[in-house]
Symmetry: C2
Subunit: 133 residues, 2 copies
């Protein structure tokens, strides 16, 4: 008999391995390259929308807006409209978001520092697949 | 004048903010809930395919196969076929994957321990959106 994987939601601690646990949704949101890159920039202080867009090469305006909105809804980022003409919008990390900063930064830094090793592995794997074909 | 965001690929260190840097692809692969959940289980020792599938509730056979194949190609996971009838396949974390374990575990644990706060934020955000509507 298989015991169901437990999730104590809506209590404080969840279980990401339980299929219907809200933790899975939270993990899905934060395990996202755009969220990681945005939180990495906001770690140093508030940043305006247009600056975020310039700093994260290749992100579309729509994807940046959507990701910021999700992060705001999750309580990780706060949004402030500044009464300039035209209005400028500034985003900052919240205290809850700050508890996540170090972890997502570590993920980004791992990717940056191990990129070379991953590329070598991929080439070896692909060469092996060619030989096997 | 805007300076292009630098990426020193194919050298060892990349820049995840550069749109065409391979780091972005690596980050996209590891910032993935299924990869995080798989690496979390393999951290304790080799695990057979069917056991992984049972432990990660809700993952399809196809998604598990695809994610394991990507992780193997990236050099993070190794695959061993054991000559039983029928053949069983066992996956283990590689030394490169082990350097990532702690970081992805931290991401999963953050999701598990802060799930409650994220849910409260979402409810407050949605209530505010209702009032504004």
């Amino acid at each position: 008999m298989q015991t169901a994987i437990q999730c104590s939601a809506p209590a404080t601690t969840g279980n990401a391995y339980a299929g219907t646990c809200p933790t899975r949704l939270v993990l899905d949101r934060i395990a996202d390259k755009w969220a990681v890159l945005i939180l990495g920039l906001l770690g140093d202080g508030p940043v305006r929308f247009n600056r975020l867009r310039r700093q994260i090469e290749g992100i579309s305006q729509k994807m940046l807006s959507q990701t910021l909105k999700s992060l705001e809804r999750d309580g990780l980022v706060s949004r402030k409209a500044i009464a300039t003409v035209p209005v400028t919008v500034e985003y900052a990390i919240t205290p809850l978001g700050a508890t996540l900063s170090e972890t997502v930064d570590a993920l980004r830094i791992w990717a940056e520092t191990h990129m070379g090793q991953v590329l070598v592995s991929q080439q070896q794997y692909d060469a092996g697949a060619d030989r096997a074909a």
